[in-house]
C-alpha cells in the first residue's frame, strides 16, 4: 500500500470537450510519439506489421453509439487517459511505492525503477487507464507530459501536454483546477463539466464537457415568417422582384 498526499498544492488536469471531439485520434498518436521518445521506457509495439498488432498507448479514443428515445442515433467520441484522481486507487494499491501522486501538482506518476510490473494498479483503476508495457515490463500511464509542462527547453506556449497542443478541434484543455478562475475551471462551470463514474469515489481531476443537445427539430414557429411566400409562380415573383429592386 502506498499513501496519497493529504492534499496537493495545485490540481493539474485536462478538460475534454465531448461536444467538439471529432474522434480523429490526433491526441492518441501525438501522445504515443512524445512518450515513446521521451520520459521513461518507450511505448512498445508487438507484432506491429503482423496479424494482431498491439502496443502501449497512454491515451485512446473510444466511440460509442447513443440511441436517444427520440431523434436519430448519435456517435460520441470519447478520449480516455489517466484522470489523475485525488483519491487514486492505483496509488494506494501499489505494493512498492512506484505509483505516486505528486504533492505539488497532483499528477499521478509511476517510478519505473520501483515498478515490478505486478499489474495491481491497472486492476484497481476503474477507468482502464494504465497499460503494462510488454517489452519493458513496467506500468505506463499518462504523465500529463510532466516533461513538457515545466520544460524550460520548450517555448512557454509549448509547455502543455502533447495531446492538448496537437488537438485540431480544440477539444482538449489543460490547466489548474485548484484555481477557480483558471480556463479549465471556467469551462467546467460554464458547460456543466462532469466527473467520469463519480460513484467510484475516485475524485477524478480530469473533467468531461457533455455533448450539447442535438437534433432539436422541434418548434419552428419563430422561423415561419422567413418563409412567407412573396409569390407562388414566376409571373408573380417577377412582379415582386421589380418592386423589391426599386427599394434597393
Amino acid at each position: 500500500m502506498t499513501d496519497l498526499p493529504k492534499s496537493t498544492t495545485r490540481k493539474l488536469g485536462l478538460v475534454i470537450d465531448l461536444d467538439t471531439c471529432v474522434g480523429c485520434h490526433a491526441c492518441v498518436i501525438s501522445c504515443k510519439g512524445w512518450n515513446t521518445e521521451n520520459d521513461g521506457a518507450p511505448l512498445s509495439d508487438q507484432d506491429p506489421y503482423g496479424a494482431d498488432p498491439s502496443g502501449t498507448f497512454l491515451n485512446r479514443v473510444h466511440s460509442y453509439e447513443v440511441q436517444p428515445d427520440t431523434g436519430p442515433a448519435q456517435l460520441v467520441h470519447f478520449p480516455k487517459s489517466c484522470l489523475h484522481c485525488e483519491n487514486a486507487p492505483c496509488v494506494t494499491v501499489c505494493p512498492t511505492g512506484a505509483s505516486y501522486k505528486r504533492v505539488e501538482d497532483g499528477i499521478v506518476l509511476v517510478n519505473e525503477k520501483d515498478c515490478i510490473g505486478c499489474g495491481l494498479c491497472a486492476w484497481a483503476c476503474p477507468y482502464g487507464a494504465r497499460e503494462l508495457d510488454a517489452a519493458a515490463g513496467v506500468m505506463k500511464k499518462c504523465t500529463l507530459c510532466v516533461d513538457r509542462i515545466y520544460n524550460e527547453n520548450l517555448p512557454e506556449e509549448d509547455r502543455t501536454p502533447a495531446c492538448v497542443r496537437t488537438c485540431p478541434s480544440n477539444a482538449r484543455h489543460f490547466g489548474d483546477f485548484s484555481d477557480p478562475e483558471s480556463h479549465v475551471s471556467q469551462l467546467v462551470r460554464d458547460r456543466g463539466g462532469m466527473d467520469l463514474m463519480p460513484e467510484q469515489g475516485t475524485l477524478p481531476v480530469n473533467k468531461y464537457l457533455p455533448p450539447r443537445p442535438k437534433d432539436d427539430w422541434a418548434d419552428s414557429s419563430v422561423l415561419a415568417p422567413f418563409l412567407t411566400p412573396v409569390a407562388d409562380e414566376p409571373r408573380g415573383f417577377l412582379g415582386w422582384l421589380d418592386k423589391a429592386l426599386d427599394k434597393i
Partner: protein
Amino acid sequence: MARTQPQIDTSPKVSDQVRKTTCYMCACRCGIDVHLKAGKVAYIEGNRDHPINKGVLCAKGSAGILQHNAPSRLRAPLRRTGPRGSGEFEEISWDEALKTAVSWLKPIRETAPEKLAFFTGRDQSQSFTSFWAQQFGTPNYAAHGGFCSVNMATAGIYTMGGAFWEFGAADWDHTKLFMLFGVAEDHDSNPIKMGLGRLKERGAKVIGVNPIRTGYNAIADEWVGITPGTDGLFILALVHELLKAGQIDLDYLSRYTNAPVLLNSDAKSPDFGLFLRDEDGTPLVIDRNTGKPAAFDQPGIRPDLAGRHRHAGVTHRPVMHLIAERYLDPSYSPDAVETRCGIPAARIRRIAAELAQTAFGEPVILDRPWTDFRGEHHAQMIGRPVSFHAMRGVSAHSNGFQTARALHVLQILLGSVETPGGFRFKPPYPKPATAHPKPHCKTTANAPLDGPHLGFVQGPEDLALKEDGTPARIDKAFTWENPMSSHGLMHMVISNAHAGDPYRIDTLFLYMANMAWNSSMNTRGVMEMLTDTQEDGTYKIPHILYSDAYSSEMVAYADLILPDTTYLERHDCISLLDRPISEPDAAADAIRWPVVEPDRDVRGFQSVLCDLGHRLALPGFTNADGTATYADYADYIINHMRKPGIGPLVGFRMGDTGLKNGRGEPNAAQIDSYIANGGFFTMHVPEEASYFKPWNTAYQDWAVSMGFYDKPEPYLFQLYVEPLRKFQLAALGHGDRQPPDHLRGRIQLTFDPLPIWYPPLSDGHEDPVEFPVHALTQRPMAMYHSWGSQNAWLRQIHGHNPLYLPTKLMVRHRLKDGDWVRVTSSHGEITVPCAHMAALNENTVWTWNAIGKRKGAWALDKDAPEATKGFLLNHLIHELLPPKGDGLRWANSDPITGQAAWFDLRVKIEKSVAPDESQPVTSPQASPVPAAPKSLRWKVGL
C-alpha cells in the same frame, strides 16, 4: 507504505535541432517541426506559425516518424524478373534504370509522343510534372483529380471562379450557420477541424448532411441522413423555398452575378440560350437608370433583374427569369422531393427558414470601406453569415457536377460568397474559368506539346479531338463523352490502353498512384488488363514505368521501378502555380527540404525527371550547349520561370534593389530563405481587399502585383453557365463540331446551363429494385488512402474495416456483429464481415476506404487482418456501366466532367456462411523489401 516522491527531471533536453518542413502524410500540407536527435528523426509536431495548421497536427502527421522509417520503403531501383503482378524484382543501379527508361521513351518521342501516357496520382508537384510532360510532347498527362473530386473543382471554377478546399473556406470567425455536405473528412482536414472548433467556441450552428454520422457529422448540432446521390434535389428544394419567400440577396445578385445578363429567348434562334453581347463580346444587362442595355461592367449602371429586352426581333430576358421559372416549379418543392431524399418536407422547410433567418436576419456588417470594379465606393462590407462545405460525398456521383453547381448557386442566391460570414476564396483564387488555360493536345514528333494539357473548355471548339473527330487523349478527356474533364480521367487510362480505344500506347508511366489496387474501379479487371498479353506473348501495355516510395500493390505490376524518397528526404515546392496552401487572408507557398538524407539508394522523383528530361534532350531541361538545365528539383524550384518574373515560389525573389516578393528574378538563396522562414512564405491580403475579391479593386490590384493575373480581371458569378449551353446547342445540331448521335440526348439532358438534378446514370443500367442498397466508402481521419496500413501506429487504430449496416438491414437479414455478408452489385460480388451502425441512412452500407490490402504488399505479414479480413468495395464498381446492348462502352462517370462515379454504387446484401477470408482472395505478391520487425521500441535518443 509511507509516501515517497522521487526527484524527476522536468526539463529534459527535447532535441538537438528542429527542422521545419511540410507534412506529406496526406494532401493537407501542414507545417511540421521535425525534432532531430543525433541526426535522426525523434519527434514530429505541428508548426505554430504555419498558415494551414497553426501548430495542430492530426494522427497521420504525428505518425510520420513511422512512415519515414516504414519497412515498406523501397531501397533501390528495381527491374522486374518474374511475370507482371508477381512482385519478383532484382535491384539495379540508377544508371541502368535511367538508361532503360530512356531506351523506351526516346523512340516514342521521336515518332509518336502520344504513345507515352504519364499520370501522376497524388502528386503535389503538378505544375512541374505537367511541364515535363508538355516538353516531352505527349497529350497524355493528368493527375488523380478525375477519380477524386473534379466535379467539385470544375463546378466551382465555372460557377464562381473557385470551389471548396484549396480554393476557399468558410469565414470561420464570422459565420453563424455552417452546412457540411457529404464525405468531407478526407480533404482540408486540419483546417476544417480547427474551423469546427472555432464555431463550437462561438456557439455557431453546424448542420451535417451525410448518409453516415461519423466524424464531423457526429458533432453536428443537426444531422440530415440523406439518401446518397440526392443532395442536388435537396439543395434545389431549399432554393425553391428561398425564392418563393423572396429570401435572396437581390442587391448582390444584380451587382455581382449574371442574374441580370440578357439571354436570347427565341427558341428558333441558333443562339437560343446564349448571352446578348456588345461588339467587344461583353455580356449586356438592362440598366435600371436608363432602361437600356449596357455592358455589365459599365460605371454607374444598376443592372435590372426583371425587365425584358427586344433586340433584332429577338426577345431577351435576364437569367433571373429562367431561375424563377425553373425553381418555383412545384417539382422542386420539399413535398415533391422528401421521399427520394429521405428527408421530411417539414425539415427541408425548417432548414430553408434557418438559412434565411441567419443570412438576412443576422447580417455581419464590417466597417471596412472598399471600392468595386464599377468605381462605386462602399462604406461597409455587409455579409450573409451562412457558409457551406462539400467534398467527395457530393462529387463522386454521375450527377455530381450539377449537384456541386446547385450548392454554389444556393450560396450565391443567399449573397454569401466572398462576403463577411460566408465563403471566402484563398489567393490566387478567385479566378474564373475564362482566366484559366484551355486544353492542348497537338503532338509533333521530337517537339513539345502545343500548350498546357489541362484547362477549361468554353465550348465544342476547345475539345481535345483529332482532325478526324476521334479523341486526342488516351483517357478521352475533353471529348463528347465528358467535355469538361479539367483534371483528366486517370481511372480510364489502363482500361482504354488495354482496349486500344482510342489507340494503343507503348509506355505507361505512373507516379504515386496505386492503380493495381484501391485507386482503380474494377480492381481485379485492372490487374488482368495490366498482365494481359497479345498473341505473340508480349504485354498489351508494352512497358510500365512506376515511381513510388513504398512497396505498394502497383509496384508488382511495373517493369521498372524508380524508387522515390520519403517526404522528409526531399525537396518539393507547394506552389501558387499549382495547388496552393493559401488562406483567405494570405497567399502562401511552402517547400519541403531534406531534413534528413536517405539511407537507401533512392532519389526524389522530381529530381529524376530533371535528369530524364536532360537525357531525353527535352527543351526546358537541356541548355543550348547540351548540358542539363537543372541539376535537380531544388535547382528547378529556384531558377525555373514560367513567365518573366513568375517562378514556382513567390517569396524572396530578386528585384532591382534587393529582395522582393511576388514577381521577381530568381534568387540563388531562395530555398535557404524559406528554410530560415520556417519552410513557408505568406503575403497578407490588404484589409480593404479581404472580401468581395472578384469585384474589389484593392484585391484585383494586389493580385496583379503578386503575379496572379497580368491585369485586373473582375467578373460575374455564373449562375447560368453559357459553355454548358454551347454543348447543348451542338447536341441540337448547331455548329460545325457535332457530337456522335448516341450522345446527343444525354448532352441535351445533362448539360443544363442552370443546375438540375437527375438520378445517378447507373440507375438507367441496373435495376434499383434488384440492388436497393447504396454502398459508400469513407476515408478514416487517421489514414490517407492505402498509405496508413504500413504505419504500425495508425494500423492499430484502423486495422479492420467491417461493412457497417443500418439497423433495418441487420434486423432484416438476422445479422449480428462479426457475421459475414455477401454483397453483390451488377458488376461483382464480395463476401465480407459486417457490423451494426445505427447512425446511418437506413438504405446505406459503408466501410473504411483502402484498408484492405493484397498479401505481400506494404511489408505487412501475409496474415495481417488487412489482407485476410480487409476488403475493397472497388471489386463491385466497374469503370464502365453495364452494357446496354448497343455495343458501346459507357463510362461510369459524370457525363460532364468524367468524374469517377464511385458513390453511385448500388448493391444487394445476403447473409453468408463465414469463409476463411474475405472474398475474392487475390494471390500474394512477392515483397521486394525485407520482412518487417516483430516488435518496435521506437526511441532514437538515449
